[in-house]
């Protein structure tokens, strides 16, 4: 009956604390993609998993109140568009599609490696939102006995 209520109090409490740490770790992975293993895709998956933890522990209704699903859709499309915009800026400022037009900076510094960092951030948002929405949509299918 109470299928959308989520799990027990213990799980909810642990999730309430851990979700921010997972989210932070995902953001860390995204931001250090040009220095350490990881990057946009890996970090985006971790971000999506943080949201999925909330979905599993608190249930569908709470999550849809907490996160604005329509906004996540827009964010996903916007990040993909932004990736292309950075690519097109590369044409006008760097000479070729996706060419680097920012300063390369100092080796091993956080703000370095030109456009790789913004591209990683954009990919992280895109992957995180897409993966979360894929699971959200697949979990939301209502099976009705059909023809």
């Amino acid at each position: 009956m109470q299928q959308n209520e989520g799990m027990t109090l213990i799980v909810k409490t642990v999730t309430r604390i851990s979700v921010w740490m997972i989210l932070l770790y995902g953001i860390y992975i995204i931001f250090h993609g040009h220095l350490t293993p990881g990057g946009g895709f890996a970090g985006g998956v971790i971000v999506a998993l943080a949201f999925l933890n909330v979905l599993l522990a608190y249930g569908r209704k709470f999550t849809s109140d907490w996160l604005n699903i329509g906004f996540l859709h827009d964010l996903e499309a916007a990040s993909a568009t932004l990736f292309l915009v950075i690519g097109i800026l590369g044409i006008s400022m760097g000479g070729a599609f996706l060419a680097n037009f920012l300063t390369k900076g100092e080796l091993f510094a956080l703000i370095s490696a030109g456009t790789i960092l913004p591209l990683n951030i954009v990919i992280g948002i895109k992957v995180g939102m897409s993966l979360f929405l894929v699971v959200w949509v697949l979990a939301g299918f209502k099976i009705e006995k059909g023809d």
């Binding site: 044409i91 070729a96 060419a99």
Partner: protein, 495 residues
């Protein structure tokens, strides 16, 4: 230069549509028509403006052995023109047709992604990049096949998705072997390094690629998914799949890899000949017994792909000319036939040939254009299908392959028979139908008339004088085989 815009424009359109479209599809229609006509203009411009030079474009300004390179030569521009014409008319056709199914922007977004994938496959000069774009095109194709959300469509889409994934993994294995043998993914570099290596590598990789891309092109032993997927999809998508997707992902890539990279090994040319002939005969035999109009057309796609493979397998310049010309012609008349089937389905609510009739009165434009397309696919002069089939048959005779020529003629006669059945039972059938369920709007008629006119106009491409500027540069790119290496590595850099 204009080369990356063939990818940027449709991709940008797809994402902007999903960003700004609300519940209705007005903005989606406007944006996708703008993007599609821009692509049409760009591709025509690039085909007319470039004659015989090869233009390369280094993505991210990384030069050839390190980065991804986009390559544009006559063959590329030719296939791009084909894709742009069919996608433009399909889009115009779908505006009314898809509203009849649902008012949704998702269709246009997916459609633009399909165009992105095909354009990417066509202009890339890098093996792995080809794989990625191929997957983009395939994913949107899976989703679009299931777009009408009926039970049959999900079934066809699932079958197509399983077959598509398996063939993609085969291709990825092939790419992995190529990379481990040559340590590069750029096609021109691979072509340069392969002759210095053991000859067996080409055989192994060629066999894997033959299976993988053969599945994509639905040549005979790998054809099982095609009739389901192509007949279940919405009509404009059927025309995209049958008209251009199997050619861009299957035939074009096979031409590129087996001619320009592998230097047309004898054994694979023989395989092309045999597979082509089997496809011609079995495709047409299976088609002739069908009563579902779209299923019949889908089986004919297998048979016509057989002609293209036969022309490629002959491997003389004349055979290649026939193959390339038939590639273009088949895109036009098969798309037109699928539009006809779609508009009949929309007007009468059925695809069964036995339940049609009286269509000359009800749908005059549809029946007249379908007559042109039927004559064209069966190879009746003066329509384009006649000339390309004639060239392939003459090439087979000249190359000393009379049996293959005979089989091609038999296939052509059986095609004529099955389209006489379509005309006799379908468009001039005896079932009396008083009124149509839905009216066919001007957009659908416009798409059909455009392609019907092209059916006649493209047959001019064999006229001496026009042939030199349209088909001959394309044939030269293919027939010169691995001259591709020098053209790409020493080509004009378009950055």
């Amino acid at each position: 230069m204009i080369l990356p815009y063939f990818i940027i424009i449709p991709l940008l359109a797809a994402f902007i549509i999903s960003l700004i479209a609300g519940k209705k599809d007005n903005w989606a229609v406007i944006l996708s028509v703008i993007a599609s006509s821009a692509l049409l203009v760009l591709s025509l411009f690039s085909f007319i403006s470039m004659k015989e030079e090869t233009i390369t474009y280094s993505m991210s300004a990384w030069s050839i052995p390190y980065g991804i390179v986009l390559v544009q030569d006559a063959l590329t521009s030719f296939i791009l023109v084909m894709v742009s014409i069919i996608s433009f008319t399909s889009l115009i056709f779908s505006i009314q047709y898809i509203r009849h199914l649902s008012m949704d922007w998702k269709y246009y977004s997916l459609f633009m992604l399909l165009v992105t994938g095909m354009n990417g496959v066509i202009i890339t000069g890098d093996f792995f990049n080809l794989y990625v774009f191929m997957e983009i095109a395939l994913f949107s194709a899976f989703a679009l096949v299931a777009y009408g959300s009926r039970a049959e469509e999900f079934e066809a889409a699932f079958k197509y998705a399983v077959m598509g994934s398996v063939s993609s993994f085969l291709i990825l294995v092939g790419i992995a072997v190529v990379y481990s043998a040559t340590s590069t993914l750029t096609m021109a570099k691979v072509a340069q390094i392969l002759p210095t290596l053991n000859n067996e590598i080409v055989l192994w990789v060629g066999a894997i690629f033959m299976a993988g891309f053969g599945l994509k092109a639905a040549s005979m032993p790998f054809h099982a998914w095609l009739p389901d997927a192509h007949s279940s999809a919405p009509a404009p998508i059927s025309s995209m799949l049958s008209g251009v997707l199997i050619k861009a992902l299957g035939i074009y890539v096979m031409i590129r890899i087996f001619y320009n990279v592998f230097n047309a090994p004898e054994v694979f040319m023989k395989i092309f000949l045999v597979l082509g002939t089997i496809s011609i005969l079995i495709g047409v035999f299976l088609a002739i017994g069908q009563w579902d109009m779209k299923r019949l057309l889908a089986y004919h796609s297998i048979s016509q792909i057989g002609y293209i493979l036969l022309g490629m397998g002959i491997a003389t310049p004349l055979g290649i000319l026939g193959a390339v010309f038939h590639l273009f012609n088949h895109a036009i008349f098969k798309s037109l036939l699928f539009y006809n089937a779609g508009s009949v389905e929309m007007a009468l609510g059925t695809r069964d040939l036995r339940k049609m009739g009286n269509l000359m009165k009800l749908l005059p434009t549809t029946s007249q254009t379908s007559l042109i397309a039927s004559l064209s696919i069966s190879g009746i002069p003066p329509f384009n299908g006649f000339f390309s089939k004639l060239i392939i048959i003459i090439a087979a005779l000249q190359a000393g392959l009379p049996w293959y020529a005979l089989f091609a003629v038999i296939g052509s006669l059986l095609t004529l028979a099955s389209f006489m059945k379509v005309q006799r039972y379908g468009f001039k059938g005896e079932t009396v139908i008083e009124t149509a369920e839905n009216k066919i709007g001007w957009r659908m008629n416009f798409a059909m008339i455009t392609l019907a006119v092209l059916c006649v106009v493209t047959s001019l491409m064999v006229v001496p004088g026009i042939q030199e500027v349209t088909l001959d540069p394309v044939v030269k790119v293919i027939a010169n085989k691995t001259e591709y290496i020098q053209l790409v590595l020493g080509g004009l850099n378009g950055n």
